[in-house]
Symmetry: C2
């Protein structure tokens, strides 16, 4: 017996968890309706995950529910926005209650971690894909943009780089070791929401690393009309990624693999101490400097330099 | 040569049309950022169209671009909201510039008609599907809800009912006659945005008819804890639909077919004259009355009655 769309939403998604900003009207009408506190702006982002493109067929639905929300919260984090509301558009080949139970659990657990509220969406039949739209709040005029990096700012990243990319390789090889940190970074990325909020008044620009550090930092550089040089030996990596680079003799690896969902941001030198003090407890690494000369350069310890411009291409 | 996601968005979607509520930050950053005018609430809705489910493979991309936006604007209309912003998440098997040119034209033409602004989204590779999230503005507390119909209110519909369903039949039979009104209603539905705005202060409840009049009116009745009886001979239909009903001896047809995107709303009798005066120029038909007795009943001219509860089921 198939569940109707209404019953399906009611059963798996219409939870009444604690919401930091309770919607005036939520699931069950033509639209959701929300109030924006005075003096705040709304930040909006959408991301789609498609089976076979962004995740492997047969992926654990709970991890998938977590991930599709994590990638959207990561975009809010990159703006310095406080997550508030979510909509979920889910396309499913058929009603599979075990899948829905797992997916909704993974999704709603992460939603609850940030006191965000699922306020609406759509369920349809078709090849498995999921689009989340996430809404965040920002004090007026405070958004962390891509276009505002300045020459002589330093470049920082949170966490480790290239780890999720290695995790994907391991997942594809069925090389599943439960406590492998690279695999975990790929399967269950954690959005850097707190970091985004803490650096909002200090960083000069910010982006989340979804398509690879080189591609995403290049977005900042191009939008800001500047360039940068990174020091290769400063790049924060897991032991697994360091080993992979040596084995493959491929130094480009951590710059070009996607899915890290760390933040890359720039900060004026005179705000750096305050920034690093606020971020105590998070792994934050200074990896380079913004320069007038356009383009992204990687400097090696022997003094050699390479230019990097490309990352993951969607098509 | 394939276009990168960035160039693709820039080429087809990053238009600078007139916007009633210009976003503070639009396409090209991690999030869009918008200002909500004081005293206003934000209405949010998402709808997905999937190839083979919501539209036929090989559909005209311009009509598809129009339709995916129309169904979302229809949800805003049903709340009485003024359309303001849009996000578009589009999954494409491959970059097909002819398709993108048509799709973006259909989408952006309708967007421009309501001075709405495309502020963000996502493009990914995979089986063709499109999710639009639409944002509208509402004076605080004025949303037209489903749960507020009252006993003795009259039931109204805009336009004609069952027409798009017949249009779908014609499209499936390749029975394409350029000036067939039913086919046009199916291929190019027009959202009832003006009607929604005009009835906001007068109607007691409202829904847009996407799943069929019976299913959608039942949503109002259930949410409001009331029932209704409709007079079958009052139902507004095209000549084509009347003929189809006679040929098939299927009076249920206009109640059960979806895709009309008309509004169904209830109005207290003492506000009816004002409502009909304001809506002069639109086709508005009183089709029945809200009653205490639960359920949806259809009364025929011979005095017989039937109970209708079901419409289009998504799964």
């Amino acid at each position: 017996m198939s569940l109707s769309e209404f019953k399906l939403i009611e059963k798996y998604f219409n939870v009444k968890n604690k919401a930091a900003f309770p919607a005036a009207l939520t699931i069950g009408d033509d639209c959701a309706v929300v109030d924006i506190p005075e003096g705040q702006q709304l930040a909006v982002t959408s991301d789609t995950l498609v089976e076979g493109v962004h995740f492997l067929a047969g992926s654990d639905p709970a991890l998938l529910g977590h991930k599709v929300l994590a990638v959207n919260l990561s975009d809010l984090a990159a703006m310095g926005a406080t997550p508030a509301w979510l909509t979920l558009a889910i396309t499913l080949p058929k009603v599979d209650e075990a899948w829905l139970e797992g997916f909704s659990r993974g999704f709603l657990n992460l939603a609850a971690e940030y006191d965000t509220q699922l306020i609406g969406g759509d369920t349809t039949q078709g090849p498995l894909s999921i689009t989340v739209t996430a809404f965040g709040l920002l004090p007026k005029g405070s958004a962390l943009k891509r276009s505002t990096a300045k020459v002589d700012d330093n470049v920082f990243v949170s966490g480790v780089i290239g780890s999720a990319g290695l995790g994907l390789l391991l997942a594809q090889q069925d090389n599943i070791v439960a406590d492998n940190e690279d695999l975990l970074h790929y399967l269950k990325p954690m959005p850097c929401v707190e970091i985004g909020l803490q650096i909002r008044e200090l960083a000069s620009s910010c982006i989340d690393i979804s398509d690879g550090l080189a591609a995403d930092l290049n977005h900042i550089l191009q939008a800001s009309g500047v360039g940068a040089t990174l020091n290769n030996e400063l790049l924060p990596m897991t032991a697994g990624v360091q080993q992979h680079i040596q084995q493959q003799a491929d130094w480009r690896w951590p710059y070009s693999t996607g899915d890290d969902y760390q933040l890359c941001f720039t900060c004026p030198e005179d705000q750096e101490i305050e920034l690093l003090t606020i971020l105590k407890g998070h792994r934050i690494t200074k990896i380079g400097k913004v320069e007038k000369e356009l383009g992204l350069r990687i400097r090696f310890k022997d003094g050699q330099q390479e230019v990097l411009t490309k990352g993951y291409q969607h098509f």
